[in-house]
Amino acid sequence: MPHTSKTPAEAVEHYRGRTVRLLSCVTSVHVVVRAYHLSDVPHELELADTAKMRGGPLSIDVAEEYEVRQGADGWHVEILGYLYAIGYEGRELVSYHWHPSGSSPITWPHMHVGANIQVGDRWLGKVHLPTGAVGLERVVAMAIAELGAKPLRDDWERLIGEAAIR
């Protein structure tokens, strides 16, 4: 169940706070957002630049589209699209995409792997590997727990757990 707030502005504040705390587990690069205002147009949040993570040649890039919606219990932020990419030695290792609008026929959440493997006349790296919706917290957790990125704060597990609740 998503976190709900009394006003749209509170919902955005909660979402932004959650996201920057999560990102502060692995990078000190600042977060850039379009100034929030009531709008039918979705908003953007992203890392200012691809960020190197501590503990090896790993990097992370993040962009999200979101909008504020009103439910029966109050206002909440809904993620409408995302890009979460992990790089290794300057090349994309794995990326999670969801861009359900626009001209692409691939409207479902998917991932790309940076594998230089040919499958017939296709390269595996160009294949859209289907996924469910992926949360940023899972990507941050994977970077730390499985890829060896060194967390920048010692409460990272708590923050990931909190972010998973939304």
Partner: protein
């Protein structure tokens, strides 16, 4: 290891955001933000063409409006 503070959030005005899109399009793709948006919307560029294309496309404010 000390627990550090949260990352900074920088709010950009719509004009500043447009400028950022343009800068990123030129840096990553070698074209203006305006040209990139036009070619993306015309179907000349696929959002999954490359990691850089996807990254810049995600910045376009109208990208997710065609719901």
């Amino acid at each position: 290891m000390a627990t550090r503070t949260d990352n900074e959030i920088r709010e950009l005005s719509p004009e500043e955001w447009d400028q950022r899109v343009d800068e990123q399009a030129r840096k990553r793709l070698g074209m203006s933000g305006e040209e990139f948006e036009r070619r993306l919307n015309a179907g000349e560029i696929d959002i999954d063409d490359s990691p850089d294309v996807t990254r810049v496309a995600m910045m376009l404010p109208l990208h997710a409006t065609h719901k």
